[in-house]
């Protein structure tokens, strides 16, 4: 079977709530059409091409990753939104972030553009 024809035959089927793949052997999977992410979530071939799919459970597990504990370096300070109302701005996290460019300053200076009635 080709993955293309199987996709076009089932365009409107409901997507299962949980992704459970049971395979006795490899014959059910066309080689090359399926793969896994580093976390083990299945990539699959859809009409739009290969896509990176994660279910809710997997995403929630990633929430506990240590990297999520520190705010992004360039997180703007918006009282009541990214920081408590009336709280002083959080100190800039010195954690190594994906962007280490010096011109990537925290956007705190733009605050005045934003009118907040606190």
């Amino acid at each position: 079977m080709s993955s293309g024809s199987s996709c076009s035959q089932t365009p409107s089927r409901a997507i299962p709530a949980t992704r459970r793949v049971v395979l006795g052997d490899g014959v059910h999977l066309p080689p090359g059409d399926y793969s896994t992410t580093p976390g083990g979530t299945l990539f699959s071939t859809t009409p739009g091409g290969t896509r990176i799919i994660y279910d809710r459970k997997f995403l929630m597990e990633c929430r506990n990753s240590p990297v999520t504990k520190t705010p992004p370096r360039d997180l703007p300070t918006i009282p009541g939104v990214t920081s408590p109302v009336g709280d002083e701005p959080p100190t800039e996290a010195s954690q190594d972030h994906l962007s280490s460019s010096p011109e990537d300053k925290p956007a705190g200076g733009e605050e005045s553009q934003f009118e907040m009635d606190i």
Partner: protein, 252 residues
């Protein structure tokens, strides 16, 4: 992140097109690299997943807006009121933002969170949105935080299975109710909008009688400028009229 592009570039210059297909691909990569570089020199660096992080299908940008009382909701003043919070490329980067933002249910006043694919502004007028529309679900107070989380996790995890169609999602905190919506590119594509609706029902765990309304952005734009009477005459633009509620004054 830098080293990724640098590595690509080195690879580029060192390789002498062993076969055409390979060469074409590499040229494509090179163009991408240069485009990214020119963007980063003028603006900021491309956001990419960190080492050992889980990449998302698309990069997304969080936005926040809050209406200034007393101002008209023209698109100009709207754009001024929308503030970028930041862009992420991986699951972990998403949680880094999300964990340091308040939940929608704790926002005060007339405010919204928007989560859109990087490069798409949360505005009807954006090229990606101008032929599009959105599914709208009105929520009684107290449900917004949970529904919003489920909605955006489904979007980030590519649960909608509608190819490139999804543009972004919005949660709007209002006086008596909260509204969540998901925007797609092509309002006239009924197969897509039906699939989005069904996925919404599944991921939000909505009761079967929940009213969902699809609204095209062209209708949204019209309602800003036309009288209610004229607007009534344009009901034929409403997709899925049997699902539409009283189309009251939802202009956002």
């Amino acid at each position: 992140m830098n080293n990724k592009f640098d590595a690509l570039k080195d690879d580029d210059s060192g390789d002498h097109d062993q076969n055409e297909e390979n060469g074409a691909q590499k040229d494509g990569e090179k163009e991408k690299t240069e485009r990214d570089k020119s963007q980063s020199s003028s603006k900021r660096k491309a956001v990419v997943p960190g080492p050992a992080e889980h990449p998302l299908q698309y990069n997304y940008t969080f936005w926040y807006s809050r209406r200034t009382p007393g101002r008209p909701t023209s698109s100009q003043s709207y754009e001024q009121n929308v503030k970028q919070i930041g862009t992420f490329a991986s699951v972990e980067q998403f949680w880094r933002f999300y964990s340091h933002m308040v939940r929608p249910g704790d926002l005060t006043g007339h405010s919204d969170f928007h989560l859109f694919k990087e490069g798409i502004k949360p505005m009807w007028e954006d090229d990606a949105n101008k032929n599009g529309g959105k599914w709208i679900i009105r929520l009684r107070k107290g449900l917004a935080s949970r529904c919003w989380e489920n909605l955006i996790l489904a979007m980030l995890g590519e649960q909608f299975m509608v190819g490139e169609e999804i543009c972004g999602a919005v949660v709007s905190v209002r006086f008596q109710e909260d509204i969540i919506s998901i925007w797609n590119k092509t309002a006239s594509d009924q197969a897509t909008t039906a699939r989005i609706r069904d996925t919404l029902r599944r991921v939000l765990n909505l009761p079967p009688n929940t009213i969902m309304e699809y609204k095209t952005h062209t209708d949204s734009i019209k309602c800003l400028s036309c009288s209610p009477l004229l607007y009534e005459g344009r009901r034929d633009h409403v997709y899925k009229p049997e699902l539409s509620t009283e189309r009251d004054q939802y202009y956002e």
